[in-house]
Amino acid sequence: MRLIGSALLVALLSGLSVNAAAPSAIAAGEEVLVERATSGTPGGRLVVALRAEPRTLNPAAAADAPSREVIGRMSGDLIHIDRATQSTESALASQWKRSTDGREYTLSLRKGIRFSDGHAFDADDVVFTFRVLLDERTGAPQRDLLIVGGQPIRVTKIDEYTVKVALSQPYAAAERLFDSIAILPQHLLNDAYEKGAMGQIWSVATPATSIAGLGPYRLKEYVAGQRLVLERNPYYWKIDSTKRRLPYIDELVFLFTGNEDAQVIRFQSGDSDVLSRASADNFAVLARDQAAQRYQLKDLGPSLEYNFLFFNQNDLSGKTLPQVAMKQQWFGDLGFRRAVSRAIDREGIARLVYRGRAVPLWGNVSPGNRLWINTALPRLPRSVSEARAILTSSGFSWRPDGQLLDRQGRPVSFTIVTSSTSAQRTEMATLIQADLKELGMDVQVVPLEFRALVDRVFQSFDYDASILGLGGGDADPNGEMNVWLSTGSNHLWRLGQQKPATPWEAEVDRLMQKQLVTLDYRERKQLFDRVQTIVAEQLPFIFLAAPHILVGARADIGNFQPSVLDHYTLWNVERMFFRPELRTRR
């Protein structure tokens, strides 16, 4: 009765004829999750413009952001990180217990839940999912996340609704592992997996009946080059406080645009309803028109991302790069790096590149990461005279025309490579170029095509310095293991080493390994604080700035609670709804 009433209300108010599947009635024995958020009005269609086309709908193959954005709305995970509080909450696993030694977790799954095609969900699907993801043949990007202490985690079925997860060593943030690991339907994917075709299945053109998931939406339609439409999952396992099954919004439409500017244009003209991560410039344009328009803009403060300048300190013994090798005498000198760091105008970067919507950084953790930032880190102001003094004490000198010379009298000159597609990093490089000119350094800025850049930084090591950005994943330090461990694949300034090259890197290794297995938050924080201090002193990366997260949405969207964690705007899409009292005609 209530459902019919709500449907009539929607039809009267919205005037849209959206043919979405109505939510199914709640079955007895179905263990739904009750969301105690504001109850909302069902109905409507939410349009989101994507920056690029999603490449696949296969959770085990998606590595690019648009694919993950779409898949995230179609799938469910066992334990979820609430983006607002940044801590874990139960999802498909209604509760879990940790063994005393911290190596085993027993998860109880919700009973009576069904996939979006009506098929029942149980422990077999969970075991299948982890088997697929950990299988090397699949080549899933999530595989490395599930390797703890060198061993993959072992997931075994205890009974129909209980699984046991075994780790080779105690792992501090084990619960957080499960966030965004989509549970796959065994009944649809088993054949493909047995045949070894997991990597090719579920492309965007797959018919909707072949795809099922546990998320708030399921696939309805895909039109090549134009849009992808998701409709409400009638079996979604969350309800609101009035016992109505979520999600409220009937349909999610993803429009494909070519780039960020096209995305903003669509939002401003009213074609799309939500804007994720606008750049500071576009945000300023939108803010100017805000009064006349019907959208709300939010500046959420600094993101978790950090941009940095770094020098090539790789071991070049296997390569023939005499010029770079010669310059490494400067790059390896801590005084040189400290001088460069003192001379950089971080405030200028925040003001000019990001229109003031960024914070200058001196360490690898941004202020947006409230739980882990080391607030005691020194924030040295810009000082060209200090930088010069440091250079002098490191044995550098100046020619009469101002050019900096090293101990052997060679002029100090190097290039900074950036990605040609990132206008912001190239602008940062131009500002740094002018800053370092005051020190007498001759710096060239070379924008390269992205792949060429990555090739130089990761494979050929044929570069002097570069500006890149990292972070932006989870707030937990474990996500950064690959960057700070000396054997890590993102240990950018010195890749491919078997053991740490310097004492301080060995110390960082020790600290990171220790915090991995420490279960108490306060102890971990102390360890990670020490890592931040060492990194800020030794400057393998010269940190520049962390941009703010800037988002926008239509004014009449309720429960719009954007966060600084991915996915910034749609993470709670099942709770979002259109407020009828604020509704304007489209």
Partner: protein, 319 residues
């Protein structure tokens, strides 16, 4: 007929050469499709290597080229790494969308340019000619990208036209008539941009050829005979002017798939343009090769059609 056969044979050789060159040039640029995953801190290098091996990217370039060639001559256009799907599922709809834009644009351009060019040529060196000359020069000098961006700005400011895409999100629920109207509204600005960038050059060429043809002795003789002006234009001037114009028309056909590239990217029109640009940047080799082959095939067809038409129209060539 042997002439045609020989042309076709040499065209096939040329297509082959184009494929070799395109492949070679793509290989020159460092990095491959999966290198982008290396910068993701969560993905280990072993996973990336595994993916590379799985899709055959670790083999030598020669081996990969031969594999592609073998499947291509059998009609299989290859596999798109970005879309994880066969290239043919991706490329034909996009090509059709591009043609949906460029064919009407070409027709409109030529239907406008011919009479306009003739009319301007008739009023040569008077103020009409000068103004049109100035306007066409300005339009030719403006970068295509700028024209497209300005039109986009216009759409945004006036709100009269959609700012991108081919259909509205709710197009499926409309009737056939409304859907056609929706398509028209979305295609209008890209069409304008396309016509604005191609019309001026064609007008200038028409004008130049007509003027040159009008100086010919045969035409002067006809004028001396007192033959009516319209008859002179249609029976004497136009056939003489036809030669370079037919070649130009052939070139228009040949570039049907490539002129709209930038405009499609700026206006989010789902054609070959955005696909090619993304495939190029992502080093999705098979998509790029297939698109180049498609464009080259069209070039060959265009040139052949132009040569055949020339043979039919211009009696001097038959001699």
């Amino acid at each position: 007929m042997t002439v045609v056969a020989r042309r076709i044979a040499s065209s096939i050789v040329m297509l082959f050469a184009v494929s070799v060159l395109s492949f070679g040039v793509l290989e020159l640029a460092p990095g491959d499709f999966f290198i982008e995953m290396q910068i993701d801190a969560h993905v280990g290098s072993q996973t990336v290597e595994g993916l590379r091996t799985q899709y055959g990217l670790t083999q030598s370039p020669v081996v990969r080229y031969v594999q592609w060639l073998r499947s291509f001559v059998q009609g299989d256009l290859g596999f798109s790494l970005a879309h994880r799907a066969p290239v043919s599922t991706v490329i034909w709809t996009r090509a059709a969308n591009t043609l949906l834009l460029t064919v009407p644009a070409m027709l409109v351009t030529w239907c406008l340019a011919l009479p306009l060019g003739i009319w301007i040529a008739r009023h040569r060196n008077r103020w009409v000619d000068r103004i049109c000359g100035g306007v066409t020069s300005t339009l030719v000098a403006l970068p295509d990208l700028l024209v497209a961006l300005l039109l986009l700005l216009l759409a945004l400011r006036t709100g009269l036209f959609p700012t991108g895409g081919m259909f509205s999100p709710d197009a499926n629920e409309l009737s056939v008539g409304s859907r056609l109207l929706d398509l028209g509204r979305h295609a209008f600005l890209p069409l304008c941009a396309l016509i604005a960038t191609t019309l001026p050059a064609v007008v200038r060429h028409v004008r130049a050829s007509v003027i040159e043809a009008a100086e010919a002795p045969a035409v002067q003789a006809a004028r001396a005979y007192g033959i009516a002006r319209t008859r002179i234009t249609s029976r004497y001037v136009l056939p003489l002017a036809a030669n370079p114009l037919v070649s130009l028309a052939g070139l228009s056909i040949a570039t049907l798939l490539s002129t709209s590239l930038l405009i499609e990217v700026v206006m989010s029109w789902p054609g070959l343009g955005p696909l090619l640009v993304e495939a190029l940047l992502a080093k999705d080799v098979h998509v790029v090769l297939s698109a180049s082959m498609l464009a080259s095939a069209l070039l060959v067809i265009g040139n052949l059609a132009a040569d055949l038409a020339l043979y039919a129209v211009d009696p001097r060539i038959r001699v």
